[in-house]
Subunit: 211 residues, 4 copies
DNA sequence: AATGAATGAGTTTTCATTCAT
DNA sequence: CATGAATGAAAACTCATTCAT
C-alpha cells in the first residue's frame, strides 16, 4: 500500500553551530525559494541562489551537500508552511456540524494552496523522483487528518471511509492545483467553493454503505 | 477566463511532407519519448535522443528548431494518444443510462491515463511553463466533452453544469495522477473505481439546482 | 604473483570516425603531455590542455570521458614510445656476446628513459593508483624481454633466472629514474654506464646455481 | 653534481616550543599521514585533516603556513622514522663479515621500506617537485652510509667506491619500491632477499678495480 | 590560541546548438 | 538532406585559505 520508497537519503552538511550559520541557511533557502517561484526551476542555479542570498557559492555548499539537498529543504519548509496555514484555518472545526465543517475544510485547503503556488509547482518540476515525497507529504498529512475526521462521524455511515478520504483529498487537491495552474484567478470565485462543497457532500452521500 | 498565455510560439522547422522526412520525425519523437519515459528528463539530451534514434544530431535539428520544440511535439502526440484511447473507451456511451455511462467514463479516463504515465510525468517536469498547455490540452478536451454530456442530460437539473463538469474532470484527473505517482498498483483496485463512481454520482446529485 | 588488478576500465568516448577527429585527438594528447612535462600535474587542467591544443573544452570531452582517461592515453603513448626506442636500440643484440649485449641493454634502457623523463614522472604523480599499471607496463615488458634473453643463455647457469631478471630490471629502472630525478646530468656520465654494466655482470655471476 | 635545487623555502609558522602546541602539531601531522596512507592524496584536504585531527581548520593554519608545509613536515617525519628503523636494524653491522653484513643491510633496507609504504607513495605523488628532496633524503642518507661502509673495506678493492655505493643503493631502493607497489606480498619471499644479496655481492665483485 | 563561518577562484564536466563537409 | 566534429557558455561543486569573534 505504501510507495516504493527507495529514496536515497538527502545529504545535509554542517548543521550550523553558531546562530550566524542558522541565519545564513535561512537566507539561502529563502533566496532559492524566491527564484524558484518567480523564475522557475531553470533559473535556480546554485550560483544564482548564492548571489541573490548575498552569500558566496562556497557558503551554500557548506550547508547543502548538493543542489538537490537544497531543493529538498525548500520543499520541507514549504510543506511545513502549508500545514501551518491549514492547521490555522482548521481551528475549531471539531465543534461544527457537517456542512459548516466542510466549508471550513474547503477554505482551509484552498488557503494552504495559496501559499506560494508557483513555488509548489516549481518544486514539483525540479525535485527528482526520489524526493517528490517531500512535497507529497502535505497531502499525505491531509489525508490522515480527513480519515480521522470521517472516522469520528460514524453517522456518515461510509462503506469505505479510508478510501473515501483518499478520493476526496486527492480529488480536491488535484482540482485546486490544476485550477491554480490554468486559471489562477478563478480560485477566488465563490462559485468554485460552492461547487467543491457540493462535491464533498455529494461524495459523502454517495459513498454510504447502502449506496 | 483563460490563463495569461503569452506562450512563445514553438518553432518547428520544415514540416516534412515527404514520407522520408515524416519517418525520420517519427523515429526521433519515439526515441525521445522512450528515453523520457524510461530514464527521465535529465537523460533526454538532444544528443542522446539522436543517438537512440539512429540519426545524427544535425538531422534532429533539421526538423526541430530546438529541444523545446521536440518536447512540445512529444506532448502533442502523447495527448493525441490519450484522446484516442479515451474516444475508443467512450464509444457508445450516449445510449447508456447514467450509472452505466459514469462507469464507462471512469474506465475511459483511467485507461487514457495508463498511456505512458511515466512519459506524462516526465513531460510535466520538462516542459517550460509556457508550454504546459500542450499536455493540459487533454484535460481541456475532456472537460469540453463532459460539459457537453451534462448539457445533454437536463434531467440532472444541475445548478451550474459547466462548473460541475470542471470540478468533476479536474478532481478525477488529479486523483488519478496522484494515485499513479504514489501508489501505481492501486489503479487496478476495483474498489477505487467504485469510489470514483460514488464520487461522480454523488457530486452530480449534490450539484442540483435545489441543493 | 600478479597485482591486485581491480582497475576500473578507462572510459574512452567517441573513437573518431573521420581523420579530422584523429588529428584532433593527437593535438590534445600532445598538448597535455607538454604541459604535464613542462609545468607538472597541477598545471595540466582540462581547460589549460584544451587551450594549448587550440581546441574547445567541449572537443576534449568528445574524445575523453574525463581527465583520467586523457592521462591514461598519454601514459599509453608514452610507454609505446619508450618501447619503440628500446626496441630500436636493442636491434641486433641477439648475435652479440654477453658483455656486448649487456652494454647494449644498458644503453637501450637508458635511452628509453630519456624519452620525456619529466612526463614520466608527472604521470607517476598524477595517475590514480588504479591506473599506474599503464606506465608500469613498460617495465613489465622489459622484464619479459630480459627473462627471455636470460633463458636463451643457459650457459649463465642461473639458479632462478626469472627472479634474476626481475631484480635486474627493477633495480636498473629504479636506479635510472632516481638518477634522472636527482642528478639528471649524470645520466650522460660514461662512468655510470660502466658501473651499471658491472652491476649486471656481477649480479649474473653472483646468481649462479652454485653461488 | 647536485640537482638544480631552487626549492622555495617551506613556510612553517610558529614553531611551538610549548608542549600544548607540540601536541597539536603531532595530532595534525598524524591525522594527515593517516588519510594520506589510507585514502590517498586526493582525500587529504586541509579540512579533512583538521576534522580527523579534531582541530579546527584555523588551528591547522596556526601551525602550517599552507598545505605544502604540512606535507613537507609529514615527509620529514616519515624519513626520520625510516632512518630510525634502518639504524636499529643495522646495529652491530660493523663487526660482521661481508656476507653477513650484506644480509643485514638488505634486511634493514627492506624493513625501513615497510614503514608506511602507502604513505611513502602518497608523498611521492603529492609533494611538489620542489619538495621531493624531502623524501629523497632517506636514500641520500643511506647512500652516505654505504659509501662510508665501502670505504671502510679497502679489501673490496673497488674501482669507484662512491659510484658503486650509489648504484647499489639506488638500484636496491628502486627494486624494493617497485616491488612494493606492484607485488607487495612478494617482499616477504625469502627468495627475493637471496636474490638481492646475490645482486649486491655480485656487483661488488664486478666493480673491482681490475674488472 | 582556537574557532569555524565565509570566501571565491578555479576545476571538471555537460549539453544545446552550429556549420563545414 | 545528412553528417558529426566542434563549440563555448554555463552549471555544479571543491578546497585552500582568511579573519572576525
Amino acid at each position: 500500500m505504501a510507495a516504493p520508497a527507495r529514496k536515497k537519503p538527502v545529504k545535509r552538511r554542517r548543521s550550523p553551530i553558531q546562530s550566524r550559520g542558522q541565519a545564513t541557511v535561512d537566507v539561502i533557502v529563502e533566496a532559492a525559494a524566491q527564484i524558484l517561484a518567480r523564475q522557475g526551476p531553470a533559473a535556480a542555479t546554485t550560483n544564482a541562489v548564492a548571489a541573490r542570498a548575498g552569500v558566496s557559492i562556497g557558503t551554500l555548499y557548506q550547508y547543502f551537500a548538493d543542489r538537490e539537498a537544497l531543493l529538498v529543504e525548500i520543499g520541507r519548509r514549504h510543506v511545513a508552511e502549508m500545514q501551518a496555514v491549514l492547521a490555522g484555518a482548521l481551528a475549531g472545526i471539531d465543534g461544527l456540524d457537517l456542512p459548516a465543517a466542510v466549508d471550513r475544510l474547503v477554505a482551509a485547503i484552498v488557503a494552504s494552496h495559496r501559499v506560494s503556488p508557483r513555488l509548489h509547482q516549481a518544486l514539483h518540476q525540479s525535485l527528482a523522483r526520489d524526493h517528490l515525497d517531500t512535497i507529497d507529504a502535505f497531502e499525505v498529512a491531509v489525508e490522515a487528518m480527513v480519515r480521522q475526521a470521517l472516522a469520528a462521524r460514524p453517522e456518515l455511515d461510509l462503506a469505505a471511509p479510508e478510501l473515501t478520504a483518499t478520493v476526496l483529498v486527492r480529488g480536491l487537491g488535484g482540482l485546486i492545483r490544476t485550477t491554480i495552474r490554468r486559471e489562477p484567478e478563478r480560485l477566488d470565485d465563490p462559485a468554485l467553493a460552492i461547487a467543491m462543497r457540493a462535491m464533498i457532500l455529494g461524495t459523502l452521500a454517495g459513498s454510504r454503505r447502502g449506496a
